[in-house]
Each structure stands twice: as C-alpha cells, then as structure tokens.
C-alpha cells in the first residue's frame, strides 16, 4: 500500500475542510433530490420557475421535534425547499424527503401552498421512488389524497387522521405520513414562506 499517498489523500480532504473554517460533523443532511421538477411543477402549479432554498435546522430543531413528536434523524441538519414562481408571483413551495422504508428509501415529494386567509397547507403528495412491496397502494390517490389540505397543526398520523395505504404497508404508510408532517412543520418553523 502506498501509505504516503493514501494519507496525503485523506489529509488533503481534511485540509480543504479546515481552510474553510468548517467543522466535520457526524451529521449528514438526508437531502432528497427532486427528480422531476418540471413535471411536478406542471402537475401541481400549471407551470412556473423554481429555485433551491437550503435551510439549516439549527436552533429550531427542538421546536420541530416537539411538533412532530419524534426526534429528527441525526443526519437532518438541513432541509431543502423549492419556492415556485409563476407569473411573477409565488404560487407554492415543493419539498422532498427521504424516509427509510422496509427495503429501501421512500422518496416523498410534497407541494405546499400558502393561502392568504389561512396557514400553509398541503396541495399534493407523491412518491417519486420506493422499494416497497405494496407500491401501487402506497402511490394510490386513495392514500395520498388524504394529505391534501393538511396543515402543520394537523395530526398527520396513521391510525388517527390518515388510513393505511395497505394493511401490510404499515411502516411505509407511517414513513410517508411522517415525511409530510416533518416537511410541513419545517416549512412553518423555518419561515420558508418568507425565503
């Protein structure tokens, strides 16, 4: 093994970090890519443009965790949103979240709107990728339409205001509900509407 060269490679990596005054942490932002922005914007908002907003959870972590009822994953130090603009006016925001399903990641896309006369609410939810056994039930309108109109104050819990996608898809259904709740609460707590 060329020990010298290997160590140089590792040290170079750490050096870049140190020069930037950065600190490596064990945290890894579970940032989920948004795979089909053009198609999703057209579906939810009839078209428009978007930009990326990456917001550190920071001091809002405790407040978010209290509202969603569980701790954020250790790797959720930042949340990603995409404000959508159409005709010079902000028409909504898209968020994506990666949850841990039974057999792989469950990637959820959430469209949020901010009506003038009320709190932010869900316009639509879709699954962009998953490895679950009951995929068609998880992606069905019957299951996903339950999230429409929900706000950060909604319970958003399977067994309470959300029914299972399939009797055997308990974990996957809960993952989707938690993803929606997490991003909606994060949207509110981090002031995404103003960003």
């Amino acid at each position: 093994m060329k020990t010298g060269k290997q160590l140089t490679g590792i040290l170079a990596l750490l050096g870049v970090v140190a020069l930037g005054g950065l600190a490596i942490t064990d945290a890894f932002a579970a940032l989920c890519v948004w795979r089909n922005p053009d198609a999703d914007i057209k579906e939810y908002f009839g078209g428009g443009s978007y930009r990326t907003v990456l917001v550190k959870v920071g001091s809002k972590r405790a407040a978010i965790e209290k509202k969603i009822g569980v701790k954020l994953d250790a790797d959720e130090t930042e949340l990603k949103f995409w404000p959508v603009i159409r005709g010079g006016k902000r028409v909504g925001t898209v968020a994506s979240h990666l949850g841990k399903g039974d057999y792989g990641a469950v990637e959820v896309v959430i469209a949020i709107v901010d009506p003038a006369d009320g709190p932010a609410k869900i316009k639509g939810v879709k699954i962009q990728r998953d490895r679950e056994r009951y995929r068609s039930a998880l992606r069905s309108a019957k299951f996903l339409d339950q999230f429409k109109g929900k706000t950060a104050k909604s319970v958003l819990e399977v067994g309470k205001d959300i029914k299972l996608a399939h009797p055997k898809a308990v974990r996957a259904s809960k993952i989707v509900a938690l993803s929606v709740k997490k991003m909606l609460v994060g949207y509110e707590q981090l002031g995404i509407a103003r960003r």
């Binding site: 942490t25 990456l54 790797d75 792989g104």
Partner: protein
C-alpha cells in the same frame, strides 16, 4: 480541465463575481458540501493484493439564481486520491458539470464532464459501487467532456449528448454523438423504465479483451475505432427486487460486436442488500465474460461496508484464455460540513 469544461463552469461564476450590472441580481443558493471516503482491500487470483484509498472526494452542489429563478446548477466532485489508475481512473473521476435551466417544459443544457447518457449508466450511478456495468467494454468510456441537451415530451424522457468520445478532451475533431429515449411504465406493483440508446463515435478507445472489469494502468489501449452502438436497457422494480439489464450491439470499424449485462438486487432490509450480476462482451479480438456478487450493509446513515467477488474470464481470438477472481472489501463514509 480544458475548454469547454472550464468555460462551462467558470465563466458564469466569474461574471457574477465581477458584478456585471446586468447580472447584479444573481445569488448562490443550495450549497451542499459532501466529502466522502472510500477505502478498499482487494485480492484474489490475478491482481496483487492491495489496500487502497479508492475515493477521497468532495461533492459540491450549488445553484445560481436570478431573482426567483434558478439559472444554472453545478455538480463538482474533485477527488484527491484514488487507487485507480489509467483509463479506469478517467472513467470514474470526476463529475464537473453545469446544468442550464431555460424554464419549465424547456430542455436543459448540460455542459462539462459528465456520464454519457448511454444505456444503463444513464440512470444507474455506479460511482460508489464495486460492481460496474460493462461500459469499459461496450463504449470504452463512462465520463466524457462535452454538452448534452435533456428534456421530456409527455411520458418520454430524452437526452442528446455531443462529447469528445475519448473520455477526456482531445485535439482532433473526433466526437461521440448519443441519443437516448426512455419511458416509465407501471403494471400493478411493478415499475419499469425502458431505454433505447443510439451512439455514433469516431476514434473511440478500444481495450484488449482481458478479464479485469476495468482497464487499469498496464492495460493500455488496443487502439481506436469508429463505433456505432444500439443499446436497450431495462430498469425493473419487481416488488422489492431491482432487475437491470442492457443489450448492446454495434460495429467497430464495421466489425460486429455485441454484449449483454444483467443485474439483480435484492434487499433483505433497509440496511442489507445483495447484488448479483453477469455480463458478456464479444469484441473484435475475443470474448470476455464475468459474474459478480456483492453484499452491502449500512452501518449507519453515513457509512457502510460492501464485500464483492468477481470471477472473470477472457478468451482472446489469438488463442489461449485467462481468468481472474477478484475479492474486494469496501468501507465508505460520507460526511457533511457545518459552518
């Protein structure tokens, strides 16, 4: 890096920083800095036993916006050290590209150094994996420099790329032009993605038929050839199993070549998965084929280990045969930075 990679990446940033009045509303958002370490121990019959730092890289992603609209996004992956050598190294390192956004419903322009959108590798990112699809044999390259236009029409995704055809910049006028179309289907709980790729390239690299999965330093170019390729690729989610396949055939300077690749991935849980694959390639100078098995286990959200075994065989036309059995153990860890 040389033009057009440098131009594609540097010019817009310089213009913004220079404060050109017309571009004064530009901002940078979505900055992600994601270092990654990948260390592998390799042994078996054929190659010498090694313990190497395979990837010591930083993945940078950010966007430049004008007012509320994303104009361009960047993906840069500088790598500091790797045990890969020669053309294998060029096939893996590194992505350096920008994606220009002209509005929803309009095609996007990708410029820089990126994975050629041909066959299975258009959608299947194998950079961090041990087992690789057979791009080293079917095309002779994976990353290449140039431009691509990507869009969708109804349910059809399409991509057209025009690159150097050599996996790097080149001084002559040779090129590789590639068109791929792909479509998603759902049948019950199964999901399918089917792609069709057509490529024509001039003076593309050709490697000798040999058992190694990737051409390392000692395995130089056999030569160059004008290549025509047609590939059908399939990505099939059958319940929880992911089956991928690619059928490729074409001509190297008029000589018929063809091959097949099949991969099956089965997750036992979120943390543990098994991948099996088989491939065969009939080249002008012989036939090579191989099998692969890889077991992956996530240790936590940031790190994991993989163990893989790849027996491979090659039968050159000039006679004889040779084989290799590669055993690889990989440990990787991702990091994030806070400031």
């Amino acid at each position: 890096m040389r033009t057009p990679t440098s131009v594609a990446l540097v010019v817009p940033v310089v213009l913004m920083l220079a404060g050109v009045p017309a571009l004064g509303d530009l901002s940078i958002t979505g900055l992600e800095v994601l270092p990654r370490l990948d260390i592998r121990a390799r042994g078996g019959s054929g190659p010498p036993e090694t313990l190497r730092l395979m990837q010591s890289e930083i993945n940078l992603r950010f966007s430049i916006n004008k007012d509320d609209e994303e104009l361009v996004s960047f993906a840069l992956s500088p790598n500091f050290e790797t045990g890969m050598q020669g053309r294998a190294r060029q096939m893996h390192f590194s992505n350096y590209y920008s994606v220009w956004n002209f509005g929803v419903d309009k095609p996007k322009l990708k410029a820089g150094q990126f994975v050629v959108p041909f066959g299975a590798m258009a959608d299947y990112d194998t950079h961090p994996l041990i087992l690789q699809p057979p791009y080293a044999r079917t095309l002779g390259l994976r990353l290449d420099r140039g431009v691509a236009v990507e869009g969708f029409r109804g349910d059809l995704d399409w991509a057209f790329s025009l690159t150097s055809g050599d996996g790097r910049g080149r001084a002559d006028s040779s090129y590789a032009a590639n068109l791929r179309v792909a479509r998603d289907f759902e049948v019950g709980d199964d999901a399918y993605r089917v792609g069709l790729s057509l490529l024509h390239g001039e003076q593309m690299p050709v490697f000798a038929t040999q058992p190694a999965p990737l051409p390392m330093a000692k395995m130089g170019l056999l030569g160059r050839a004008d290549k025509d390729r047609l590939a059908l690729d399939l990505d099939w989610l059958r319940g929880i199993d992911n089956i991928r396949a690619e059928l490729t055939f074409g001509w190297d300077d008029g000589d018929f070549v063809h091959g097949q690749w099949l991969s099956w991935n089965h997750p036992f849980s979120y943390e543990t998965e098994l991948t099996l694959q088989a491939d065969r390639w009939q080249a002008r100078d012989g036939v090579s084929f191989g099998l692969g098995a890889s077991l992956h286990h996530r240790l936590d959200d940031l790190s994991g280990i993989r163990v893989a075994y790849e027996p491979r065989w090659a039968r050159p036309d000039w006679g004889g045969s040779n084989s290799a059995g590669l055993v690889t153990v990989q440990w990787y860890r991702n990091f994030a930075l806070e400031w």
